[in-house]
C-alpha cells in the first residue's frame, strides 16, 4: 500500500471536525506564515529606512564637522598670516577666539556623532568606526589645545615689544647703535646679526648657534676694543648678554612650535581619512540599505505571492477534499432523501465508515429499510381492508336497496289505500293541504269531488264483505281511469272517495262528477250488479281550509243523499 493511500485512508477515517480543524489550521498557518513574511519584510524595510536616515544624518554631521574643522584650520592659518599686520589683539579676537568656538562646535558635533553611531540603527561596520569618531573627537580637542599652546608660544615669540623676536630686534638695534662706530666689534655684531637673520629665515638651529658663537667672539672683542669707555663697554656687554639670552630662547620656542605644527600635521593625517571614510561609508550604508530594501521587497513579494498561491492551491485541495469527503456525501444523502420523498424507497446512500455523514448515511439506510418494511406491510393491510370494505359496502348496498324497497313499500303502504290502491286519507289530506296553500298564494282555483256509494251496507250485508270490497276496488278502478293525470283520487273512508282536481273550477268538476256517476250507473259490478253513488262537489274559496272545503263538499253530498241518491250536488256556496 502506498503512502498516499495510507494517508488517504487515514484522512477518510477522520471525523469532519478533525478534517475541518486540520484544513483550517493549515490555512490559518499559511495566513500566519504570510503575515509573518509581510511583517518580517516590513521590519527589514523599516530598519533599512532607519539605517538610511541615520546614515544620511551621520553623513550630514560628518560634512558639518569636517567643514567646521576646516574652518578652524583656516582661522588658525589666518591668525598666523595676519597677526603681524593687524596686531596680536585683533588677530586674537578675529581669528583665535572664533576658532576656539568653532573647535568647541567640532568637539560637540563629533561627540554627538559618536552617540548617534552608538545608538542608531547602523551597520556593524559603521558602528565599529565609532573608535575613529572617538579619535576625531580627541583629535579635535587636541587641535584646540594645541592651537592655544601654539598661540601662547607665538605670543612669547612675536608679541609686540614683549615677544622674543621684537626684543631681539630691539636689542640688536641698540647694539647696532652702540657698536656702529667700532670696527671689530661691529663686524662681529654684523656677523652675529646675519646669523640671526639666517636663522629666522631658515629656522635652522646651527645658524643661531653661529650667532651665539659670534656673540661670544663679540664679547671677547668688546674687552679689547679701545674705542669703548668702560661704562659703554659694560653697557654693550649687558646688551649683548641680553641679546644672547633672548636669542638662545628662540630656538626652543621654535622647536615647540614646530612640534605643535607637526602635531597638526599628524592630526590632519589621522582625522582627514576618518571624515573621508565616514562620508564614503555613510553613502555606502545608504546604498546598501536601499539595495537591501529592494532585495527584501523582491523576496517578500515573491514570498507573499508564493505563499498566496500555495494558500490558494491548498484551499482548492482542501475544498476538493471537503467536497470529496463531505459535500459529495451530503449531496448523495440529499438525493437519496429526495428519491425517498418521491417514493423511491430503493434509494441507498453510500455509508463508508469514518465520519459523521457516513454515520448519518448508515442511519438513513436503516431508516429506508425500515420504511420499506413499513410500506410493504401497509399495502397488504390496505388491500385486506379494501376487500373487507368492498364486502361491507356490497352488504350495505344490499341492505340499502332492501331498505329502499321496504321504504318504498312502506311509502306506498302509508300513502295508499291497501284495498283499492288509491291514495289513502293521509295522502289526500296532504294533497288538499298543498293545493289549499297554492290556491291561497297564487289564487288558483281547485275543486273536490266527494262521493259515497249508495247503500253499500246492503251490499255487504247482502253479498258479503268480499263483494263489498270488490265493489270498492272496481269503483277505485273507475276513478283512476276517469280522473285526469293531475287529479288525485283516493279512498276517504269506508265507501267514500275523494277526488282532488287542481286548477279546476267547480263547473268542470261537477261535469266530471256527473260523468262518473253515469259511468257507475252503467257499470255492471260482478255479483252485485248496478251500484250507484252520490256526489258532492265544492270549489275552494278564499278563506277555506282543508276541513271547511271538505265539509262543504260533504254538505253537498249529504244533499245529494237527501235528494235521492245517485246524483251530483254542487256546494251551494260555490255555486252561488
Amino acid at each position: 500500500m502506498s503512502r498516499l493511500e495510507t494517508i488517504s485512508r487515514l484522512w477518510r477515517k477522520q471525523s469532519i471536525t478533525i478534517k475541518f480543524a486540520c484544513a483550517f489550521s493549515l490555512l490559518f498557518a499559511l495566513l500566519v506564515l504570510e503575515a509573518l513574511v509581510g511583517y518580517g519584510a516590513l521590519g527589514v524595510v523599516l530598519k533599512a529606512e532607519a539605517e538610511i536616515l541615520s546614515s544620511v544624518e551621520i553623513r550630514q554631521r560628518v560634512f558639518k564637522m569636517d567643514g567646521e574643522l576646516e574652518k578652524a584650520r583656516r582661522m588658525y592659518r589666518d591668525f598666523f598670516l595676519t597677526y603681524s599686520e593687524i596686531g596680536f589683539a585683533k588677530a586674537h579676537s578675529q581669528h583665535f577666539l572664533p576658532a576656539k568656538a568653532v573647535i568647541s562646535r567640532v568637539v560637540a558635533l563629533s561627540d554627538d556623532l559618536r552617540k548617534i553611531v552608538e545608538t542608531s540603527a547602523v551597520s556593524v561596520t559603521l558602528r565599529e568606526r565609532n573608535k575613529d569618531i572617538a579619535l576625531y573627537l580627541s583629535s579635535a580637542q587636541r587641535f584646540g589645545e594645541s592651537f592655544e599652546q601654539i598661540v601662547d608660544l607665538v605670543t612669547i615669540l612675536a608679541a609686540p615689544e614683549s615677544g622674543l623676536l621684537p626684543q631681539l630686534e630691539q636689542l640688536g638695534g641698540r647694539l647696532d647703535d652702540m657698536l656702529r662706530d667700532t670696527r671689530e666689534p661691529y663686524l662681529l655684531f654684523l656677523a652675529m646679526d646675519r646669523h640671526r637673520q639666517e636663522y629666522l629665515n631658515s629656522r635652522q638651529r646651527p645658524f643661531l648657534q653661529m650667532a651665539l658663537n659670534s656673540g661670544f667672539n663679540l664679547e671677547q672683542a668688546l674687552g679689547a676694543e679701545p674705542e669703548l669707555t668702560p661704562a659703554r663697554r659694560e653697557k654693550a656687554r649687558k646688551l649683548l648678554r641680553d641679546y644672547l639670552t633672548v636669542a638662545g630662547r628662540i630656538p626652543d620656542v621654535d622647536v615647540k612650535i614646530r612640534g605643535l605644527l607637526n602635531d597638526f600635521t599628524l592630526q590632519a593625517q589621522a582625522v582627514d581619512p576618518i571624515s573621508r571614510d565616514l562620508k564614503a561609508l555613510a553613502a555606502l550604508e545608504v546604498d546598501r540599505a536601499r539595495a537591501r530594501i529592494n532585495a527584501v521587497s523582491r523576496v517578500a513579494t515573491v514570498a507573499i505571492v508564493v505563499t498566496a498561491l500555495i494558500g490558494l492551491g491548498f484551499a482548492l485541495v482542501v475544498a476538493a477534499l471537503i467536497h470529496a469527503t463531505v459535500t459529495r456525501k451530503i449531496v448523495a444523502l440529499t438525493q437519496a432523501a429526495g428519491e425517498l420523498r418521491a417514493d423511491g424507497l430503493e434509494a441507498r446512500p453510500q455509508a463508508q465508515a469514518g465520519d459523521e455523514i457516513s454515520a448519518l448515511a448508515a442511519t438513513f439506510q436503516g431508516m429506508v429499510a425500515r420504511m420499506q418494511d413499513l410500506v410493504a406491510n401497509l399495502e397488504s393491510k390496505v388491500d385486506q381492508r379494501t376487500q373487507e370494505l368492498a364486502a361491507a359496502n356490497d352488504k350495505l348496498e344490499q341492505v340499502v336497496r332492501e331498505l329502499d324497497e321496504k321504504n318504498q313499500a312502506l311509502e306506498v303502504t302509508t300513502r295508499t289505500d291497501r284495498l283499492t290502491g288509491l291514495a289513502n286519507r293521509r295522502r289526500l289530506e296532504e294533497a288538499l293541504q298543498t293545493e289549499v296553500l297554492r290556491a291561497r298564494r297564487y289564487g288558483k282555483p281547485f275543486s273536490v269531488i266527494l262521493l259515497d256509494i249508495d247503500h253499500f251496507k246492503k251490499i255487504n250485508d247482502q253479498f258479503g264483505h268480499q263483494a263489498g270490497d270488490n265493489v270498492l276496488i272496481a269503483i277505485a278502478g273507475l276513478l283512476t281511469r276517469t280522473a285526469r293525470e293531475t287529479d288525485v283520487a283516493g279512498r276517504y273512508g269506508g265507501e267514500e272517495f275523494l277526488l282532488v282536481c287542481p286548477e279546476t273550477v267547480v263547473q268542470v268538476v261537477a261535469a266530471l262528477a256527473e260523468r262518473l256517476r253515469v259511468e257507475f250507473t252503467t257499470t255492471d259490478f260482478p255479483l252485485v250488479g248496478q251500484v250507484t253513488s252520490s256526489f258532492g262537489v265544492a270549489e275552494f274559496i278564499q278563506g277555506d281550509s282543508v276541513e271547511s272545503l271538505v265539509e262543504r263538499a260533504d254538505q253537498a253530498l249529504y244533499r245529494a243523499k237527501g235528494s235521492g241518491r245517485n246524483c251530483v250536488e254542487v256546494d251551494v256556496g260555490t255555486a252561488g
Binding site: K131, R142, P206, Q267
Partner: protein, 418 residues
C-alpha cells in the same frame, strides 16, 4: 488529536521564538572605577603597540616589537585563551607622534593596554593620553627620569598607569658625571641635548652631579633633531674650553656631532661621552674609528644566563639575525609583566566573556614583585619603575668588536643601592 491539542500546538509554535529570546544572558556589571574591557569568547584581546617604527630610531622600535613578539610566541600567541591583536602605530620618536599614536589607540574602547614607547619623548604625551583614557602602558625602552621619578619623587611627566622595565636613567647622567669627575678628573664639562626629555634628563642629571662634585658645566647646549651641521655647537664647545662633552643624542645627530668633532683639532683632546642610545651596531658601523676613545654610559646588560641564551636563540630563529642590542630583553620582560598582570586582573564571566577592569590591571601591574625577568628580578614601584638602576660606563677601543666588544670594555659600573 482534539481541538485543544491543536490549539496548544499552535500556541507553542507561535510562542517559541519569544521563549527562546528570553534565554539570552544579561551582561555582567562592571565595578571597576576606570571601566572594564569585555572580551567575547571569540573576540581577540587587543593591545596597542606604539613604537618608533620609522626613521633613524626604527631599529630600537623594532627591538621593542620583537621583544613583545617573542614573549607572545612563548604563549602561542594567546592570552587567557584569546588571540592577541596588536594595534600598531608609529610614534616617529617625538612627543606629538606619541600623542597622536596614543589617541588612535585609545579611540578603540576594546584596547586593554599599550606596549610602548621606544622614545621617552614620545612617551611623555602618549602617557598623558593613555592615562586620561584609563589605560595602562608599559615600555621596555623608555628611560628618561621625567617619566617616573626623580630623587624619590614623582617626576614632572609622571602619569598613572605608566610603567617601564628599562632602568630609570636618573642615575645615568650622575654616573657619567662621577666617572668624568672622579675617574677622568674632568672639571669643565659641556652637555648637549636635543631638547627631548630623555636627553635633557640625562644632561640635567650630569650637570647636577658634576656641579655637586665641584665641576663646572661650561656649556649646556641644545641641538635640534635632524640638525646636520654640528660645527657651530662644537665651536661653542671649543669656546667654552670644556674638557668633556656629554651628548646623549640619538642617531643621526650623535653621529654628526662625533664625526664633526673629530674633524676639529681644537677638540682633539676633548673627551666625548654619550649614552646608551648610541650603543648600537648601526652607530658603530656609521662612525667607525671616530668612536675610538669615546665613552658611553648605559644600562648594565643583563647577565648571561641559560634563559637569556635561550631567548637569544629564539630571537635568532625567528628573525634570522643576532639581536643587535639587549633592549629586546627589556621589551620581553615588559611584555611578560603586562601579560601576567592581565591574567591577574581578568575575570572569566559566567557568560563566557572575559572581564578586565582597567584599574584592576593597573593595580596588578604596580603589584608586580620579583618578576623573574630576563634582565633580572623586576619589582615595580609606585612611580612605574620596575628595573633596578645599574649602569656601566663603556669605552670604545675597537669598533670592529661592535656592541659586544664595547660592552666588554666596561670601565665603570654603578648599581643603585650597592
Amino acid at each position: 488529536m482534539n481541538r485543544a491539542a491543536l490549539l496548544v500546538l499552535l500556541f507553542a509554535v507561535l510562542s517559541a521564538p519569544f521563549l527562546l529570546s528570553a534565554c539570552a544572558p544579561a551582561p555582567e556589571p562592571c565595578n571597576d572605577t576606570l571601566g572594564c574591557v569585555d572580551i567575547g569568547p571569540d573576540e581577540p584581546l587587543k593591545l596597542g603597540m606604539i613604537q618608533a617604527l620609522t626613521g633613524t630610531v626604527a631599529a630600537l622600535g623594532q627591538e621593542q616589537v620583537r621583544g613583545l613578539e617573542l614573549a607572545l610566541a612563548r604563549r602561542n600567541g594567546k592570552l587567557l585563551g584569546h588571540t592577541v591583536q596588536l594595534l600598531s602605530e608609529d610614534t616617529y620618536c617625538n612627543p606629538e607622534g606619541g600623542a597622536n599614536a596614543a589617541l588612535k589607540i585609545v579611540a578603540d574602547p576594546k584596547v586593554l593596554a599599550i606596549f610602548g614607547t621606544t622614545c621617552s619623548g614620545a612617551a611623555a604625551l602618549a602617557g598623558e593620553v593613555m592615562s586620561k583614557a584609563g589605560l595602562s602602558m608599559i615600555s621596555g625602552n623608555n628611560s628618561a627620569p621625567f617619566l617616573t621619578s626623580i630623587g624619590g619623587h614623582r617626576a614632572p611627566k609622571w602619569v598613572a598607569g605608566y610603567l617601564r622595565t628599562a632602568p630609570n636613567e636618573e642615575s645615568a647622567g650622575p654616573v657619567a658625571a662621577r666617572f668624568a669627575y672622579k675617574k677622568l678628573r674632568i672639571r669643565r664639562a659641556a652637555t648637549i641635548n636635543d631638547g627631548d626629555i630623555y636627553t635633557q634628563g640625562l644632561t640635567n642629571g650630569f650637570r647636577h652631579e658634576f656641579e655637586r662634585l665641584g665641576g663646572t658645566i661650561v656649556l649646556d647646549a641644545t641641538v635640534n633633531k635632524n640638525d646636520t651641521n654640528m660645527e657651530p655647537v662644537l665651536t661653542t664647545v671649543v669656546n667654552s674650553k670644556a674638557e668633556l662633552v656629554f651628548f646623549p643624542l640619538f642617531q643621526p645627530e650623535g653621529n654628526h656631532l662625533l664625526l664633526q668633532a673629530r674633524k676639529m683639532p681644537a677638540l682633539a683632546k676633548t673627551v666625548l661621552m654619550s649614552d646608551g642610545s648610541l650603543i648600537e651596531d648601526s652607530f658603530i658601523q656609521a662612525v667607525q674609528g671616530a668612536a675610538v676613545g669615546m665613552y658611553f654610559v648605559g644600562p648594565t646588560p643583563p647577565r648571561k644566563t641559560a634563559a637569556l641564551e635561550k631567548l637569544a636563540a629564539e630571537y635568532q630563529a625567528r628573525y634570522h639575525t643576532l639581536p643587535p642590542t639587549y633592549y629586546y630583553v627589556n621589551a620581553f620582560d615588559a611584555a611578560n609583566i603586562l601579560f601576567d598582570a592581565i591574567g591577574k586582573a581578568a575575570v572569566q564571566g559566567a557568560d563566557g566573556r572575559l572581564h578586565i577592569g582597567r584599574q584592576a590591571l593597573r593595580n596588578a601591574l604596580y603589584a608586580t614583585a620579583n618578576h623573574a625577568g630576563q634582565t633580572g628580578p623586576l619589582t615595580c614601584d609606585e612611580f612605574g619603575d620596575c628595573a633596578a638602576q645599574s649602569f656601566n660606563v663603556l669605552r670604545m677601543t675597537d669598533p670592529a668588536g661592535g656592541v659586544e666588544g664595547l660592552k666588554g670594555n666596561t670601565v665603570y659600573t654603578y648599581a643603585k643601592g650597592q
